[in-house]
Symmetry: C2
Subunit: 285 residues, 2 copies
């Protein structure tokens, strides 16, 4: 499930969206999603398993994709793990050109689909060249180590944030969304403080991190992507009590605004300090 | 005015407070200020030049210091530069054991006192061993490059923040206050993006950064101090238009919670990555 793509294998793309993407006006991110899927004549499924109000959420994307002339669009509702293990549903997903995972609760999404045929179908679709998008909870669900729950108001707090096992398209990162708008830096620092193996990736609302089939990345939309790298960090987090604020020295922070592109054949050279992030984030499967 | 302290010179301490320090209940920071001045029998002046409501602000500190049995307490109100050049006022300040600079507007404070006898008196007091505290605007005023004005909502924005010339007790840093509470990371990143020579120091409410006479530092109070170091940064800020969000790669961030101490004789070794900050921030005059 988590093996890196083989050289020469045709592989799709991931569009990791920070929530709140525009679904009515210019719909820049959704338009890009359709283009990455191959155009409006392609088959798009909308996976609503993260949300407790699947019909309502589907109706929003139904209208948005309809307005973009995507005829072959349908929802994949998952009310139980039985649904997620249904062979016909899994086949639909495996054969789709684009899969859009909605917002809601990432713990719900993974509890329903984790380890099922639908889970395998998602990876199969990516390996076939599909574009897989996830927004809000759907974005956090995309990594192996998933930001599951918790809040940190003004400062990181030991023990305040919990991780889960995500779908695992990307390794070695933890993804948060609605990042600037919901002031989530403290939350991301909390995860990185206790799990410095993981790079923290915070995606703003109406903003997306695109991991391209060819191996480059792009930030698109209204906001920015913030990367937190604690691998060089000195910290007392191992010694303090729960709920205390850790000392965190030498955290590396990268702010990547919309329009930034790295690693593609026509892009300017990636700054050295970003090259590890690029290598990690583009290693998708 | 800005020469570093000579070896063997008796020198005072700086207490840089992020605003909103408790003035009624446990008053931890104010109690520490009094202790740093030598105790409640010492002479304390409260410099209100930053505020447009000096009597109101004085009454708050009058009550607070009164409750702590500081008998020799008085305000220094400055309505004009003439007041700031008054010899008797300057002598009062130069001879004080403690000087407390209130909040308000740091541009107002410096416009009134910058370059006057009162300005010289502040440096003379520090050289004599006084403790000089500044809160909110009074804190930002303490560095040579002063954060004067501007806002950056969610992201750093080129050109959004302006600098001024502060009192200059500390070089090579820019100080912001009410840091976490008013979500000022974007503002501090803006300054550092355009002025990577300066280390950004963000101090939370009811929190203080103490620069001790002996050369160590301590963070006290309820919150934390955030240091932003852009010296290794790769950025496109020189090439983008005003109001655009800069790319900022490899910013170093240090989170120093209350209770942290560095550089004193009994303190554990300073992490290497913090040693430049320690050297810079303790070089006071």
């Amino acid at each position: 499930m988590n093996a890196p793509a083989q050289a020469g294998t045709r592989r799709g793309s991931l569009l990791i969206i920070g929530g709140g993407e525009d679904r009515e006006d210019d719909m820049q991110i959704l338009e890009r999603f359709i283009a990455l899927c191959g155009g409006p004549d392609k088959r798009i499924v909308v996976l609503t398993a993260a949300t407790r109000v699947p019909e309502r959420v589907w109706s929003i994307y139904d209208a948005a994709f309809g307005a973009m002339n995507v005829d072959k669009r349908k929802p994949v509702h998952v009310a139980s793990r039985l649904d997620a293990d249904d062979a016909a549903t899994a086949a639909d997903v495996a054969q789709a050109d684009g899969i859009f995972m909605t917002g809601g609760d990432q713990k719900r999404l993974l509890a329903l689909i984790g380890g099922t045929k639908l889970d395998e179908a998602l990876h199969a679709a990516l390996a076939r060249g599909a574009c897989i998008a996830g927004t809000s909870a759907g974005a956090s669900a995309m990594s192996a180590h998933m930001l599951a729950d918790g809040k940190a108001d003004l400062h990181p707090e030991k023990g305040a944030v919990s991780l889960g096992a995500g779908i695992g398209f990307v390794q070695r990162v933890v993804i948060d969304q609605h990042f600037s708008q919901r002031q989530r830096l403290a939350r991301l620092l909390t995860v990185v403080a206790q799990n410095p193996y993981l790079l923290g990736v915070g995606i703003d609302e109406d903003t997306a991190l695109l991991i391209e089939a060819g191996g480059g990345i792009e930030i698109l939309g209204a906001g920015a992507v913030t990367v937190i790298d604690g691998r060089h960090m000195v910290s007392n987090v191992a010694d303090i009590r729960n709920r205390k604020v850790p000392e965190m020295v030498d955290v590396r922070l990268h702010l990547l605004p919309s329009g930034s592109r790295y690693g593609g054949p026509c892009d300017t050279a990636t700054p050295d300090a970003l090259s590890d992030f690029l290598k990690i984030i583009t290693n998708i499967a």
